[in-house]
Amino acid sequence: MKIGVLDYGLSNVGSIYSAFDFYNYDVSLVSQPEKLKEADLIVLGGVGNFKTATSRLKELRLWEALNEEVIIKKKRILGICLGMQLFADVSYEDGETKGLGWIKGKVVKIEGDSVRVPHMGWNEIKPVRDALLKGIHHNFFYFMHSYHFIPENKDIVLATTNCGELHIASAIMQDNILGVQFHPEKSQGDGLRFLRNFVEVLS
């Protein structure tokens, strides 16, 4: 099972890579469309600006390649943080930018009277499908974001997280596409086990 972690210049790929490497998985960094074809599992991370992320992916010809591998060939993908937000139709971060459009919904700024933005720190996800939480002791994971994904179809929401008065979608799954708003690669032992479950339990 080859895991390809997309390296498109603005995600913290080092941490994601080393988390998969911890379990001695066959993981590599991918920045060319040809290499993406070789991966069985794809991981799309990302920190920073939605618009910049889409243009980098297009510059590197990874945008089309992602559509080919995930939508046509139905390869399993994990989107982390901005990576998950890129699955949306549209984001309103810094104007209006079209996303990959795989999951119907929009990305908007976190706003609310009792909400502290950015949503930063360890927060609880609940409830979540058992398969993904196998071996996990506490459901606390690390969050670091100012925008959140509102999917149209609530049935694809695996887990939500309280952020002030908001209940944000912290994990979503639609067919072969899994997205998490938190950073499993930064969430110590439970984060590692979450990634292991993505690789081993879901397959």
């Binding site: 913290n12 920073g48 950015p118 930063m120 720190g121 360890w122 506490h138 690390y142 309280n162 590692l192």
Partner: protein
């Protein structure tokens, strides 16, 4: 609900960790990578690591240290020291930092915060500011690791940082730093209404109840620990267990 964060605050001098008292009398407290691994294993919520000589020496933190830490540890890393351009910050992110910490050059030119937030997103930009209580009782801002005083009022600066997109704010009380006598609770109570972003207190933690009081009374989201961890008989597991017993919301690891 989001848990309060307990953050070991690593001060670097080049390749070694150091710890002082009121920004003076520094002693060596070990190797940053092995110390990071220890606190990661104990369930620290994050590690902040700042090279306190970088600005003075016109360089940035040794980014190899960041890479070594993120390769060995599975927790968020905020890194800083000497960052004054987008290019400096990019080097830290490429090395694996999740957030960068700016202090001296943000005070000298708050628009640096805007440039960094526009480029990397607010969530990746931590602004740190060092203040000292004067004889008159007001707070004065210091840069270059407490060696140079600036004229600007700390509240005015903080408001600018927020306006320019700072993602979180660390406020260090210089006179409490390394003294182990408790945080400057009034300082944080006065700053809290000014900032909707996460506020992190630094300077003064000496025992469990200092942390309980800070998190219960001031509305701070997180606290930084230094000497209490490095040079006294405390660890993250015991600290969190105590806080949990006092009904302070923390994450168990």
């Amino acid at each position: 609900m989001i848990a309060h964060r307990i953050i070991p605050f690593f001060l670097l001098k080049g390749k070694r960790l150091t710890k002082g008292t009121q920004f003076r009398d520094f002693v060596d407290v070990g190797d940053p990578i092995s110390q990071a691994m220890i606190y990661d294993a104990q369930g620290a919520d994050e590690i902040a690591i700042v090279d306190i000589e970088a600005s003075k020496e016109n360089r940035i933190i040794d980014t190899k240290i960041i890479t070594q830490i993120i390769t060995k540890c599975r927790l968020p890393i905020a890194a800083g020291g000497g960052i004054k351009t987008i290019r400096d910050a990019r080097k830290c992110f490429e090395a694996g930092a999740d957030k960068i910490v700016v202090n001296t050059y943000a005070v000298l030119d708050p628009s640096l915060v805007k440039k960094l937030a526009d480029e990397f997103g607010s969530q990746s930009v931590t602004v740190s500011i060092d203040v000292k209580k004067s004889a008159k009782g007001n707070y004065e801002v210091y840069i270059f690791s407490g060696t140079q005083k600036v004229k600007e009022d700390h509240e005015v600066l903080i408001k600018k940082f927020i306006e320019y997109g700072a993602g979180e704010l660390v406020v260090t009380a210089i006179d409490r730093e390394g003294v182990l006598s408790g945080f400057d609770y009034d300082l944080y109570k006065s700053i809290r209404p000014l900032v909707k972003i996460p506020l992190i207190a630094s300077g003064g933690a000496g025992c469990y109840d200092d942390i309980v009081r800070l998190l219960n009374e001031t509305g701070c989201d997180a606290c930084a620990l230094g000497k209490m961890l490095f040079l006294r008989d405390y660890d993250m597991v015991r600290i969190k267990s105590y806080l949990k017993g006092k009904k302070v919301l923390v994450r168990e690891a």
